[in-house]
Symmetry: C2
Subunit: 435 residues, 2 copies
Amino acid sequence: LKEGKQDTFHDIIKDLQPFDVAVQFKELPVKHRPLFLEFLTIKELTELLRHLNQDEQLHVLRVIGPERSTAILGMMKNNDLAFLLTGLPKAQVDELIAEMKQEEMDNIVSIMNYPPKTAGRAMTKRYIWIHSSYTVDRAVSKLKHFANLATYLNYLYVIDDEKKLIGVVSYRDLLLAEPHALIVDIMSCNLITADVLMKQEQVAKLIAHYDYVSIPVVDETTILVGIITVDNVLDIVVREANEDIEMLLASGKAIDFKTKPLVAAKKRLPWLILLLFIGLISGSIISRFEATLEQVVALAFFMPMIAGMTGNTGTQSLAVVVRGLVTEDLSFKKSLKLLVRELIVGILIGVTCAILIAVIAYVWQGSFVLGIVVGSSLLATLIIGTIAGTIIPLVLHKFNVDPAVASGPLITTINDILSLLIYFEIATMFISKLM
Amino acid sequence: LKEGKQDTFHDIIKDLQPFDVAVQFKELPVKHRPLFLEFLTIKELTELLRHLNQDEQLHVLRVIGPERSTAILGMMKNNDLAFLLTGLPKAQVDELIAEMKQEEMDNIVSIMNYPPKTAGRAMTKRYIWIHSSYTVDRAVSKLKHFANLATYLNYLYVIDDEKKLIGVVSYRDLLLAEPHALIVDIMSCNLITADVLMKQEQVAKLIAHYDYVSIPVVDETTILVGIITVDNVLDIVVREANEDIEMLLASGKAIDFKTKPLVAAKKRLPWLILLLFIGLISGSIISRFEATLEQVVALAFFMPMIAGMTGNTGTQSLAVVVRGLVTEDLSFKKSLKLLVRELIVGILIGVTCAILIAVIAYVWQGSFVLGIVVGSSLLATLIIGTIAGTIIPLVLHKFNVDPAVASGPLITTINDILSLLIYFEIATMFISKLM
């Protein structure tokens, strides 16, 4: 198939979607890739690049040489370009940017100047604006002129003399209107916009709540600076979900099926080593109560259960808070309500489990006092675990720290240590009756 | 504001987005709600309903009475309607459906007959089809006629005489084409479609990969049966992510900020009680080794560390597999490669942590043999934990069980029990040298 004619190759490629071309490319043996790339047009190469990761993108740019690279960079959507450039060494960025047209260059630089994870970073400048005084006819002819640019868009953005965004017109509005109608008469002024410094998570909430396919991004003077499309939002939502899981389970940042073993191990080790020391703190608590433990070895039988359950109630509450924040905003009043709810849940869960374990401990070990000790410890630790799992992420959120960041490891630590302390304190209090 | 005139009320409402109206409605004291609803038009009520949860929807329908309810049900997108009806008692469903037009009713019934979580359940039938023999003019006039229906769409779907889907035409294509051009000449035939029984997760992958705003759904004979839009996909993606987290952390299904304490406690208790018994199994393992533990109480100090670390390596691997499956499909070859990668990661992590803990144990407790026992136990359990965390979700996925379903609790159980068994077996082997 590949060892041959460009014509037949193109017949096949042109029937494929860009994503499928990218899949084909990745499955190709490395030695055939240069020929594959040589056969593609600039447009096809640009589309291909969108579906590759950063390393693969750089590899392709190197293979095809500077001339075609420049042409491609000129055609890329500028948020994709900003993504490509993020994290590259400064020298390489300058080299790539130097080849670009002035206007494109300014766009990229301005996008890369916004803080990470803000709307500014995710937006594209490839939208079409029209002035409110245009007629429908004139708007359509502008659309025709920039048709290439606007493949994935469905709106034209209406601005006034000061470049302020004052409305939007959908393609559908244009189709339904008379050719000589004025844009100002058919446009929709009922706008939802994103501030350029808004968090991407927040933008995702807006788009999801209002069911939009794109949202205009404005600066503090309501001047239109870009748009964010739903395909980017979908990426943002998946990325945020993965980050939440990575943090909640401390499973290591951005490890996928292709990450090299050494890299994956390095990303996971920090948390495991931290956990090792946390485990040792628990151990040293146990060692402080060595006398108690030596007198009643049966106490050790219930340690894994108490620590495990406390850790788990904590992460249960944590998960509810972290994921709840994805779809809802929390006022102070709502937070307080949530806290009371979780307190009640903690008590309900605590009482149920405490009674259950007290009976089991009594039947298993034949000691009524042991049942009381284990049961009351569990009641106390479950309530504390639930509250810790709720308060910590709320406080982190209040101080604008992503609640998932520190709280997975944090809550496990705190609950582990607290639960053992409580358990052994109570046990030591009753030690004379336990023996 | 609310105690008065319908006119001023409407002036305010008509400038608001439906989502904001819903927010206003929810914040209203219950006694003012009937008046609020009375003031809304049927169209506004329909939009309002989209942004409420099932209980709130039913409440609204009850308040406004059967006549207006029927009018609203007739205007709802039918996937939203199917959502409203899902989970209602059969009698109530029949009552609601009985009021509807025959055609609408058939649509709903057909959508509700698809299995949950398939494309069929998420699709809407509110798309516009055109025949390939139409001219652009005729297509636009059909669009005008059904304009109300097609608010959120950007494509017309082109079918042949047998109702088979053969192409799509975007509004943009229509704007750019000559009025007398034939649809068959301007349509795009390069179609990505979803099968009606395809899993919703899979549909979300398609839309994300190809950057679409909607995707047509076809049956096995490529007859067009509906479309799925990106706003639904966004909901699906968020829901799947939440489900993954709920499962991975066993945090209880669909608990949000508004869930009542009793309901939340009931949802979380099953897993906690399961965990309680798992903890007791660990306890009974410890009790089997009571003699060993009585002789060397110091062994207890390292128990929390070993169990905690093993559990965590397992969930780390698990999280990588579960979230990886969201964006990628896994062949047998890829699974094997992943397994080998995780094995190497397990060995790397195991060796690092084992050496570290052996040194610490030696320095802390002054026993070289204890260092060897703890270190070699940790090495073994970390490797096993990693492998278990990888194999179990892969096997579940192979047998079409959502890998997140059973594996969070499952892996914690297995790793807890295995790690204690290994630790005490090794310790008992060396017991004469430990004392």
